[in-house]
């Protein structure tokens, strides 16, 4: 009977109910989108790091795992690394931003092919002219590019010589010397990938390199990949917590206002229920059940919306941000939204529960 009253109450004010559900939905979407983006970007970076096929990664002193905006390593260091015991091959790469979060990698394609087996070409060939670049399948699809298409980067037209499978280095690739010159880093690189003769020797080689290259972040690929985690990226967890906090505040305020107006509007009905012998707990129970229904449908809507934000991001900022759908977070986001909503319903519920029946019955 109470459930029927709850459903009828929600149906009685369809616009208010719909707005409350949408607001909770947006709250859940914000949470799922920010977590999905964080995890998506990190997973994408992990995949690209693994795709190189190196055993060891050497980064410039003071650099973070997530970004490289300069090229402070001398290119001669590549040859030096390659001469170290048990290192079978080394390749240097430079990374330069194209626009937003999209990056271009410059790499010695011949060495890279020897190290990782090279790129898998969906179409075309490696760049043969200084004005040629490679793009990955994702970037090509998003920007409707084919072999021979011209891409305008840094106020210059670049011919797409080949389309490669995504998952290795950046989405755009060009020969190392071209990008070095273009970015004013002639003779310099951003990082070095090294291959070891036997996986058993990886730790020994890292220890040896660290003793010789003091202050350089030197990682095994697995260790480097493990750095792409929410807890390992400085400030990311805090950022997620802030966004979740903001979304909870939105949900709280909307449910608070919705329930507050509902209680005011239903003052007389609360008086009727009390005249019939309903206890304060009974009245509170009705409001909390209504909140529960709003939070449930809001969460479901929010999950649906998170697919929408992924589509929107893929459409508006192609080949840049990567949002994962995170089913593991569905119950967490739902529970957080429910907690915020119940908190929002608490004060209106308390007011309703202690409503004086005589005053309530005389309310116009």
């Amino acid at each position: 009977m109470v459930n029927k009253l709850v459903i009828e109450n929600l149906k009685f004010r369809p616009v208010r109910t719909a707005l409350s559900v949408i607001a909770i939905g947006l709250e859940v979407t914000m949470m799922l989108t920010i977590v999905g983006l964080s995890e998506g970007m990190l997973a994408d970076s992990q995949q690209r790091a693994r795709g190189v096929g190196a055993d060891i990664i050497i980064r410039p002193p003071g650099s973070s795992a997530l970004s490289l905006s300069s090229a402070p390593l001398p290119q001669k260091l590549v040859d030096w690394v390659e001469q170290q015991p048990h290192v079978s091959m080394a390749v240097g790469a430079i990374t330069h931003p194209v626009s937003g979060l999209t990056l271009m990698t410059g790499i010695d394609l011949e060495r890279f092919t020897r190290m990782s087996g090279g790129f898998r070409y969906q179409a075309g060939n490696p760049p043969r002219q200084p004005n040629e670049i490679l793009v990955d399948t994702y970037y090509a699809r998003q920007n409707k590019l084919r072999v021979g298409s011209i891409v305008n980067l840094w106020n210059r037209g670049w011919r797409v010589s080949g389309i490669i499978e995504q998952g290795k280095l950046a989405r755009l690739v060009m020969p190392l010397p071209v990008l070095q010159d273009l970015s004013g880093n002639t003779g310099k690189i951003s990082q070095i990938f090294a291959k070891v003769d036997d996986p058993e020797n990886i730790e020994d080689v890292i220890a040896d390199l660290k003793s010789k290259l003091v202050g350089y972040p030197i990682y095994s690929t697995e260790e480097f990949v493990s750095l792409f985690a929410v807890d390992k990226v400085p400030g990311l967890r805090e950022f997620i917590v802030v966004i979740i906090g903001l979304s909870v505040a939105v949900g709280f305020l909307v449910v608070f206002l919705s329930m507050y107006t509902a209680v005011l509007e239903r003052t007389r009905e609360i008086g009727i229920l009390k005249a019939l012998g309903a206890s304060p707990v009974f009245v509170l129970d009705i409001l909390f059940r209504e909140t529960l229904v709003l939070a449930f449908f809001g969460s479901a809507l929010g999950i649906g919306f998170s697919y929408g934000t992924r589509w929107l991001i893929m459409t508006l900022v192609p080949a840049s941000l990567s949002q994962l759908i995170v089913p593991g977070w569905w119950p967490i986001a739902g529970a957080i939204a429910l907690a915020g909503a119940l908190l929002g319903a608490a004060y209106p519920g308390w007011r309703a529960a202690r409503q004086d029946p005589i005053e309530a019955l005389s309310y116009e």
Partner: protein, 223 residues
């Protein structure tokens, strides 16, 4: 002579409005016998609504004694008065006070639910609904019912838990003469056929004429 179901002794109620004390009831004494249809008549401000609220357990008295079927209301806590409203008292209001989101049937059922009673259909109560003339209108929501029908649904809701007393506050105040006659006829039928004790408040002497007895109130006292 049947035993009294309501006994009121030196009942007083003072409301504090700002810094002013309003003496709504000034020593009311009243006895209502089981099965009686009593009408309380008086002008606005005479204290009849306050008496109604105290007898219904909606507010406690300031002093005095109120016995309903032997239970002293003046000694009850808020929670105990809530319990009393579930089973001992049925209310009929001037403005019907049906829940607008529920059908007529559900408005009646929720009173049973709150009282902790089974929601299974009661054949005897079905007869009462037919007596009230609303058996065919139960699936409609209040906005689809006429004033007279709404008031008859409110009466059905008030008596569904077989209360010791039925309190009716100006039950015809919002009705035209035809519907007023129908509702008053229903209240009298319930009283005569089922022995339901009814205490009706009105300012209209024609309405009061339906009662077995009339008491007049003025300035918080029975005169």
């Amino acid at each position: 002579m049947s035993k009294p179901i309501i006994e009121v002794r030196d009942l007083r109620k003072i409301y504090h409005v700002g810094e002013v004390d309003v003496h709504a009831l000034r020593g009311v004494n009243l006895t209502v016998e089981a099965g009686e249809l009593l009408c309380v008549v008086g002008p606005s401000g005479s204290g009849k609504s306050t008496l109604f609220h105290i007898l219904g357990g909606l507010t406690p008295p300031t002093s005095g004694q109120v016995l309903i079927d032997g239970r002293d209301l003046s000694r009850l806590s808020d929670a105990e008065r809530t319990e009393l409203r579930k089973r001992m008292v049925g209310f009929v209001f001037q403005k019907y006070n049906l829940l607008p989101t529920l059908s007529a049937a559900d408005n009646i059922a929720i009173a049973r639910y709150i009282a902790g009673k089974s929601l299974a259909e009661d054949p005897k109560f079905r007869e009462v609904l037919e007596l009230l003339g609303i058996g065919h209108r139960l699936n409609h929501k209040p906005r689809a019912l006429s004033g007279g029908e709404q008031q008859r649904v409110a009466i059905a809701r008030a008596i569904v838990n077989h209360p010791a007393i039925l309190l009716a506050d100006e039950p015809t105040g919002n009705l035209d003469s035809k519907n007023s006659g129908a509702v008053l006829g229903v209240l009298r039928d319930l009283n005569e056929r089922l022995g339901q004790t009814v205490l009706m408040i009105t300012h209209d002497l024609n309405v009061a004429a339906y009662g077995h007895r009339i008491v007049h109130m003025l300035d918080g006292q029975i005169v």
